[in-house]
Amino acid sequence: MRVFWAILWKDVRQEWRRRELVLVMAVFSVVVLVLFNFALGLSPDRPANVAAAVMWIAFTFAGTLGLNRSLAMERDDQCLRALLLSPADRAWIYLAKAVGNMVFLLIVEILVVPLTLILFNLSVPLMPGWLALTCILGTIGFVGVGTLLAGMATGTRMRDWLLPLLLFPIQVPVLISAVQATQLLLNSRPLDEITLWLQLLVAFDLVFIAASILAFEYIVEE
């Protein structure tokens, strides 16, 4: 367990000094938001629905960027080997990496969600806490399996392009659920309509984090 915190802290501290990941992801998200605004035309019908969709697309793309960069950095330093040579439990290593990626993406989301509301002229939703929960659950799902797939993809010749190809089909349920929940929240729909989607997110998260932890052992052994 202390291994988990050690690795997480190291990654966060490295990022704090470099500030590479979070900045790149944040800027990219904003660019995507703005581009979509141009593509969709000003004041689209049902702005809440469009905003939810565009926001999560931005997170998906930015998240992919972040995952690629984060694993490339580890590979550059060749330190994954050193981690694997230590007596640290592989499960904790994986979790530390995944949670690190999650933290970075969440920071980006904190910046981008208000920006989305502004760009689409939406008022703050009645239940912001639930919106935050949706973002967290969606990010967990995305990063949970994304970290594993990024680990596989960075070893290949295709590098950056392979991760989206692997990740996007697999995390379709996350995208659907997160967007639906966000749309309902932004439209101030009653809670019981929303919890269904959140439950689906939780189910996905649990299944895929468990699967990824198990799979990580096989990925790293030769």
């Binding site: 290949t156 010749r157 697999i170 689906l200």
Partner: protein, 240 residues
Amino acid sequence: MESGKLSRTRWTRGIWIVATVTVIAGFAVSIYLVFISTGIERNLGFSQKIFYFHVPCAWITYLAFGIAAISSILYLIRNNQVWDSIAYSSIELGTVFTTLVIVTGPLWARPTWGAYWVWDARLTTTLILWLIELSYLLLRAFVEEPEKAAKYGAVLALLGALDIPIIHYSVVLWRGMHPVVMQSDAGGGGLPSEFFVALMISLATFTLLFFLLLTVRVRLELVRSRLTNVRNRIFEQGLA
């Protein structure tokens, strides 16, 4: 010894011949049944006949992926290359059938509902499965070391298998109140018996065809990897 697996004894040759003949006969019978023997379906018209090809292809798609998933688990546990060859061949072959499903779906949908694509749960899930299969093939193609490629592929196949039910459920929820469009229960679970017979024969034929092709493909894969290894050995020794 390995060559024993690859040599054809009289017995296996006999089985091959029987199987091939059955498949050809099966197709002949199916085509007869589909186009000549069964009547035109009342509501959907002639285009409904695609159903006899579309449904078996869909069945094979999921069968192939299921086989791949199970082989992948066995590969990860036993570390025997044969399981990996089965998994890879199954997905490769399965992708062909999945493509057929996605192609025949719109061909049926257009005359029936006027739209090429309706986002119904089953077809959408199959589409995503298709994407997962393609990404599997790309992953295998671009990872350098064969053993690593096999491991990565196995993991991806398993993730996909876990995901399919979740994807299906989420799409069902998403499409919400839409009537269950399109379907194999074209008649709502009460298929007239002649349709049912035609469907079953078609299904059986396709399944047999799939297993025949799979066997050929797995053998091919095993031979191919042996050839690669022998070639590598030669290079290593500096003889070539």
